[in-house]
């Protein structure tokens, strides 16, 4: 079950790399976060960790529903360009994505000796970190860069819940607070972007 959810997490991230529409990108980000939330819920349920279940519910509410909704409203309010063509051509992205994955799978091999349970989840988390970096790199507009930033946070969260069976509750709440602050800052950026145009 955990493998299946991690597969869906990575799949939604890869599909997000190839989308050319902003709202579709937000949908895939929301799917990505939803899978992460369900993953946190199922892992929390299996190791009987109340804090992890709370984090899972918060992930679904804030990241899967709240942030995409706010971003959609903001981009409608400020009339953003909704057609986002990746700067990296699809032909190169097709070669680049598997190359990144193979590279990170071998890159994380030394780490996997230290972690005894589910070593390959570390590899998938690090590769999704790189893929979100690629998502930030391949767009020029502000909105997809923000989605890339947010999915980078998702990848770190995945690393946290799979490799170490959950960070302390306080740290996770702090991260959520950071995210909300980031959204406020992004709002200011959007204002500035509108002034420029």
């Amino acid at each position: 079950m955990v493998d299946f959810l991690i597969g869906l997490f990575l799949a939604s991230l890869i599909v997000a790399l190839f989308t050319t529409r902003l709202f579709r990108l937000l949908l895939w980000y929301s799917m990505n976060s939803l899978m992460l939330g369900i993953l946190a819920l199922s892992i929390g349920n299996s190791i009987d960790d109340k804090a992890m279940i709370i984090t899972g519910i918060m992930t679904i509410v804030i990241k899967a529903i709240g942030i995409p909704f706010v971003l959609k409203n903001l981009s409608q309010k400020f009339h953003f360009v909704r057609q986002i063509i990746p700067e990296i051509k699809v032909q190169y992205a097709i070669m680049l994505v598997p190359a990144i994955l193979v590279f990170t799978f071998y890159l994380s091999e030394p780490i996997t000796h230290m972690i005894h349970t589910n070593a390959n989840y570390v590899a998938i988390s690090i590769s999704s970190l790189f893929l979100s970096l690629l998502l930030m790199m391949e767009h020029k507009n502000v909105a997809p860069k923000i989605v890339g930033f947010l999915s980078m946070e998702n990848a770190l969260f995945l690393l946290g819940i799979t490799a170490t069976n959950g960070m302390p509750m306080l740290v996770e709440l702090g991260i959520f607070f950071d995210l909300l602050m980031a959204i406020v800052v992004i709002n200011l950026l959007f204002h500035k972007e509108e002034l420029k145009v």
Partner: protein
């Protein structure tokens, strides 16, 4: 042996029903009055009675090609994984054979399009060549990665192995292979994001452009081949990616399989209603995604074992 032959016969018989079901379901979703789901059989019998007219420019290829389009697909039907436990099946046929036979059928379809000597036929053939060249590598990779997970390169044996022992530990790569194969199912059968099977507009058609000049019995054969192709892909999807329900008695297992086929058809219909057709030069993006997922499924299986 008798179950084997009977199940192939039933699958061929059910083939036009599935395509009519997709059409009817789309019309229901668009709030139109649906066509009867028996429309496929009616069209077939109508075309069988109609007069067959050949264009003056055509050569002998037009007379032979429709049969050569249909026959490789009929051969592939014999190589599919078994629908019922204990039934006879061909175990040694691998991904290359199945993909090769399907592309042989596509090759004769392209020849048929060129042979009509109309501008549309050549255009349709070149588009079909463009799409099928992108489909084949992804299809071979996908079926190979599923076969590796099942522990046997033969497609029929892989289906049986998956039904007996589902690879729970390889769930992630199984999922990637499933996504890739579904994109291929849509692409190879000319459903909406790739090709619209209902229009006769010159800019949008791929499959229809090649069969535009055909009439009567030849058109009936080509339409039967199109529906059999859909059944092949749908039943490969059903037995490789939804491998359950084989352990019941023969009749129940067969009914479960039919339900799975209709489930796949419903998903295709939902997808068709909800998406717009892609521009021709955007198609490599979608099929590139299929190749990425197929490759990803292989490397997650090899490197991570997940």
């Amino acid at each position: 042996m008798i179950i084997y032959l009977l199940s192939i016969f039933m699958l061929v018989l059910i083939a036009p029903l599935l395509l009519s079901y997709i059409k009817a379901m789309k019309m229901v979703l668009l709030f139109k009055r649906p066509v009867s789901i028996l429309q496929g059989y009616r069209d077939f019998s109508k075309l069988m009675h109609k007069e067959t007219i050949l264009s003056e420019e055509t050569s002998a290829i037009t007379i032979y090609a429709p049969f050569l389009v249909l026959s490789p697909l009929i051969i592939v039907m014999f190589f599919l994984p078994p629908l019922v436990q204990g039934s006879y099946y061909v175990s040694f046929v691998d991904a290359f054979t199945i993909t090769g036979l399907i592309s042989l059928s596509t090759f004769f379809l392209m020849l048929l399009g060129l042979d009509s000597a109309s501008a549309f036929g050549g255009m349709g053939s070149s588009r079909e060549a463009f799409i099928s060249a992108l489909v084949e590598p992804a299809m071979i990779l996908t079926i190979f990665s599923v076969s590796l997970m099942a522990g046997n390169l033969g497609v029929g044996q892989a289906g049986v192995n998956l039904a007996e022992h589902f690879p729970k530990e390889h769930m992630a790569s199984f999922l990637f292979a499933g996504i890739s194969f579904f994109i291929l199912l849509v692409a190879e059968n000319g459903r909406i994001p790739i090709d619209n099977p209902e229009t006769h507009l010159e800019l949008t058609m791929v499959h229809e452009a090649m069969t535009l000049d055909l009439t009567g019995i030849y058109l009936a054969i080509i339409e039967a081949a199109a529906s059999i192709k859909f059944v092949i892909f749908a039943s490969l999807f059903a037995s490789l990616f939804m491998p359950f329900g084989l352990e019941f008695s023969a009749l129940v297992a067969f009914l479960i399989f039919i339900v799975k086929l209709f489930f796949i058809a419903s998903i295709v219909a939902l997808l068709e209603v909800n998406t717009a057709k892609l521009r021709l030069f955007k198609i490599p993006n979608l099929l590139g995604l299929a190749i990425v997922f197929a490759f990803l499924s292989l490397i997650t299986f090899y490197v991570l074992g997940a």
